[in-house]
Symmetry: C2
């Protein structure tokens, strides 16, 4: 039994007509020799509506309850798509995360998949053409519903592709692949034919929304090729994300990622002694807040300033946690802003050729974009800049690194 | 541990403010000595929205998928109410039908509860004040979601009250109890202080929407007193539904029930031989369509006409089933209408005093209301009339039987 795993994002299933269109795509794939496992997101906008409802009753909704609430969005889509498939004579059944055997830890809102028991899925595929699975959700040891965080349906799809030993995992979305930069902000941006996992990971964590970073991690660890395609432009080839084999692509900027708005926190007057960084970041880790860039300014009089960025939606929570830390460690003060964004250039082996960094800084300087923080990794250079400069920076860098040419 | 079971209908939890109001009612009840199990319906209107979505993708949605879809409505309410309870410092957890251990058969859309495993509920009540349970749903042997039919949350509540050995089951709704007639159609209607199970059952099956008839059946079998109260008029006493002990109430019309619109099917030219009624009604039973009144006209030339009514929403399905039957049994023809409604007078021991029927027919005759079908039970007399005459009939009968006087 050959199994294909394909995933449709929220904009691909946003209304009844789009669900019908998606059902036709699935119909093309399902036949005697191929069974299809489909993972769906909530209908575009519906998760936001559920969150708004939760916030109407509670400013900080109980996390367990919030997960159960949000999980209903994907369940709605999965049943509607399954109904439509049955209507067009494709034998289909929908399964919730629990029914699909997707076990997770109990970190509500950011749960991680620990194991997939594929028994029920395999059983259903014996007499059905298609199993439609509600993405984004799983269940804890207590049999409670958990969710994997925004964009978690991508992770559901990749984890299922691995568990079901599929050859590839196709991610259908509303853009034609992974672009060299966000086409809404940079009109010279073009889709890449191929990109490596590590590069994609840097693209995803620093803003390219096309696929969730955790999904790329799971794919990379398990060598699962991902194909990103456009639900509404089926003739476009899309982008394949896999282990980079093309030597030509090494030592080259592949794309520009950005975040329009991030939260930035500076803790001032931190006593500069060993273990102090851990005192600051351990509480954030315990509160499940991922920290992006971290910069520690050089110390004067044994005091130092620590600056870091977090996702904009985590800023409120991060401030709350860090205010406690300021007292615990005897720091002077804390200030924060969400008036900044980030721009990153990404490409394998960049940091080994210092010319890239220099060209990036020079380009931003020419465009009068002030750099607030710099952070680098093996394959990425990120500059935090004022949020109003993000678009200018993207376009200038796209030109400077000649990304419009394949 | 004393456990109270209370249920809130869709209009009681229709928006965030109403959910907050409901949370305050629960807070008044929960204390060190009393644990509260709350059953909730979907937020008013949301089930209709989900059905509309399903109909957008499919005219006859797959029943299993439809049940999973509809079950999300009650899950949404249960999580929101639980969040709000936690916000006002009442320790609460929500449970879905599956988590609450509500086992049913697998008749999707009209499942019946077979057993409640209260283990999880009892466990949660040990360290929580309140458990909020999504009504209307359970699970089959296949671990698939089932729903109990419209109004099924009442049944969930009563079954839980029985399983948890509660003293009573309180049903909160948007009216102040069980009325002598529908107050929207009859302005002299008043709430009854008390009514027997059998009378309530007749009221419920013939149109009084205040409580679902199956819930009354389960309460009657288990001698569980039901209290119907108004969520928004807490000072009103409401109506208690229990085994009738008050001799004064026997041989008296207690109330008038009605259905604004029902489906009526007549099968003409049915060969009049033994077993023919079963040939007509067995297929309807197998299709899970409850039949209300049945009338068989006197036979001429060994042919007879069979007329019966069904709920308006079942008419389409009933016609489809019966058209097959017409061919199978060699009947002549079938015709149908949904231009009729029904009016019933209800009271214990009425049929033993023929004066009630005579007075009912006389009253309708005086008001020029033409009677199409008559059907009687031990405690009910029902007349099917043109739907435009329903309101006139209710008011005339309310006066004739002096229901405005306690």
């Amino acid at each position: 039994m050959k199994i294909e795993v394909i995933k449709f994002g929220g904009s691909s299933v946003a209304d009844a007509n789009k669900i019908k269109h998606v059902a036709n795509i699935i119909k093309e794939k399902a036949n005697n020799n191929v069974k299809v496992v489909v993972v769906v997101s909530a209908m575009g906008g519906s998760t936001d509506k559920l969150i708004a409802l939760a916030n109407e009753v509670s400013q900080e909704p109980n996390p367990r309850e919030l997960d159960v609430l949000l999980s209903t969005g994907e369940i709605v889509t999965s049943t509607l798509l399954s109904m439509q498939l049955n209507t067009i004579s494709i034998q289909s059944i929908s399964l919730t995360g629990i029914q699909a055997g997707i076990r997770t830890d109990d970190a509500y809102g950011r749960a991680r998949i620990s194991e997939i028991n594929t028994g029920r899925i395999i059983k259903e595929l014996k007499n059905k053409d298609v199993v439609v699975i509600a993405g984004f959700q799983g269940f804890s040891d207590e049999q409670d519903v958990t969710t994997l965080g925004r964009g978690g349906s991508d992770t559901t799809a990749v984890a299922l592709a691995v568990a079901l030993k599929a050859d590839t995992c196709e991610i259908y979305t509303d853009v034609s692949g992974v672009y060299t930069a966000d086409p809404r902000l940079c009109n010279k941006a073009r889709p890449l034919t191929q990109i490596g996992y590590e590069e994609m990971l840097e693209m995803a964590t620093t803003g390219a929304k096309v696929i969730h970073s955790r999904a790329v991690e799971v794919a990379a660890i398990n060598h699962m090729p991902l194909i990103v395609k456009n639900t509404f432009e089926l003739l476009q080839k899309g982008t394949i994300i896999q282990s980079e084999s093309n030597m030509e692509n090494i030592n080259k900027v592949r794309g520009i990622a950005h975040q329009n708005q991030v939260g930035k926190i500076t803790i001032k007057g931190v006593p500069d002694k060993p273990g102090i960084a851990s005192s600051v970041f351990q509480p954030l880790a315990e509160a499940n807040i991922p920290v992006d860039t971290i910069v520690q300014n050089s110390s004067t009089e044994n005091l130092t300033d620590l600056t870091f960025t977090v996702a904009n939606e985590d800023l409120k929570k991060a401030i709350k946690v860090s205010e406690k830390t300021v007292k615990t460690i005897g720091a002077a003060d804390l200030n924060s802003t969400n008036e900044v964004g980030s721009v990153s250039i990404i490409g394998t082996g960049m940091t080994s050729s210092p010319g890239y960094a220099a060209r990036m800084f020079q380009t931003l300087f020419t465009k009068k974009v002030n750099i607030e923080i710099i952070s680098t990794s093996e394959i990425r250079i990120t500059c935090v800049v004022h949020k109003d400069s993000v678009k200018t920076a993207i376009n200038a860098l796209h030109d400077a690194f000649e990304l419009d040419v394949e």
